[in-house]
Symmetry: C2
Subunit: 337 residues, 2 copies
Amino acid sequence: MKKWYQDTEIRDGIVLSSRVRLARNLADFPFPARLDLAGREQVCRLVRDSLANVSGLKLKYIEMQELTPKQAVALAERHIISPEFAVNERGKALLLSEDESISIMLCEEDHIRIQVIRGGFDLDGAFESAMRLDDLLDSLLHYAFDERLGYLTQCLTNLGTGMRAGVMMHLPALAKCGRVQKLSNTVSKLGLTVRGTYGEGTGAKGDVYQLSNQVSLGISERTALDNLKAIAMQIATQERAVGDELIKDDTVLDHIQRAEGILRAARLLSTEEMLELFSWLRLGVRQGIAEADISGFNELTQTMQAATLSEAGGGGLDRNKRDALRAQQVRERLFDS
Amino acid sequence: MKKWYQDTEIRDGIVLSSRVRLARNLADFPFPARLDLAGREQVCRLVRDSLANVSGLKLKYIEMQELTPKQAVALAERHIISPEFAVNERGKALLLSEDESISIMLCEEDHIRIQVIRGGFDLDGAFESAMRLDDLLDSLLHYAFDERLGYLTQCLTNLGTGMRAGVMMHLPALAKCGRVQKLSNTVSKLGLTVRGTYGEGTGAKGDVYQLSNQVSLGISERTALDNLKAIAMQIATQERAVGDELIKDDTVLDHIQRAEGILRAARLLSTEEMLELFSWLRLGVRQGIAEADISGFNELTQTMQAATLSEAGGGGLDRNKRDALRAQQVRERLFDS
């Protein structure tokens, strides 16, 4: 079965993926931070068992303590779990669909964190899928819900809908022009946030930013989603306009051509350099001045990161072998060479 | 007429060019440093006039003060004159053959500095050509010569034969392994010196080093030349052996492939980067793992430098235009693309 990021139909160069995350808690247990190990294990098993007999729903149950640190980091690299969740600790578990588009973290900050990722600009699809799963869990478990406040969550910022919806956007033109900070200030006034690829406090690897809703209280899911979609489209329009200007600059053309040249030629490639070069190349492909099979970007971005790549290679790849394999896979996937 | 560096037959990847320089002075004048402007101008005219009626010898006479600073720097870039000679000052002149292989600096450190450059490993050819010119001048002028000391020169280090013979060697393998310093120490014990491309105190651009004889007193020209040739061949053998080892290293292969990729792709290219990339590519071509028309290296190395390129473009090229033209010429010349 294909992973979500192997969908080759996704050709939008700006919105790379869409994500909806719902925070839910069980009424009969304290929040995970206040639960001891036995309590957390009980919550994990409870959710697992409740879904065990649902027909048509195939989720793999993974106790986090069973994973090697590398396996856990590989999951975080692919945005299946949060980086914090990857830290080895007992009493945490993950439910994961085979295509990796649906994941449920158990006993992260909240008892239940449902996440659905879709390739491209498909917030509605992600939302509907998350909602179906939420309705199912709601019918099987006893959610902590308050008529006035909505879903109760450990962190106040999630109170209400418990929903964070977000899109990963590739914004090379705005980033190279130093306009992301201004954008960030503007959208924050609209109840949204622009952050680096891996959430708060992380840099934007390869000019990929996460635009997500910030407000979950006093606003319906649908309204939050519509706001997000409208603003994402506005940002994409800006990005395209700035990109059209940018490629008139010789140094930008030079960067794009070199990125293609290096990706075609390199025998060793680090994740950081790969993401940086992808950014220029993707800009070039979007603007019609570089050639590459861009349907491979999502997959390569996901699978060519250090820990994921090492896992795929049986877990025993050292840095040099990883860099060599990464360079080779990139050549094959983007240029068929 | 072709310039010497446009000779496409030169395919030795290690010895790029051979050079013989003779320092001569006139017995009837003090050394240039002790001459006033009128005296220096007299010397320049005297040499010019003595050669004016020699049939078959076509040398252009250039008074240095007539050149723009850029034109003078361009001559130094191509090793036709010394960097010091390029500094604008009256009472200095240059005699230059059309193919730029023969040049005579007048009133540099000595009254007369004859230089002959040949592409590839051709010290004998350069020496014979320099000697013919020297015999001619000797028959027309009154050289300062002492039976016991030989040719008298301003600097004691040139006393005797007044000859410096040298080869430009491309030593990427030895350089990348940090073995040039040791080599330099070894050859200095044999009366030779290894220096950066532009003589004393300059770095080695693109891993090109100048190996030349240091001793001119108490040794015949022929012996000095034979020593130099033997040691150059030894160094070339070492360079090849180290190169064979080096290319077993993934990071070296990566550097070579990238150099080719970038040179093929870049839209802007500085002189420094070009020389650095040339070094890797030349190593790759020599070792049979990269493809480029290497007969173009000498010419590109000579003509793609900042001042020379700007002069060729009519003198008015700014940095960006030079970098763009350099990238284009490199693509066309090395890869025919």
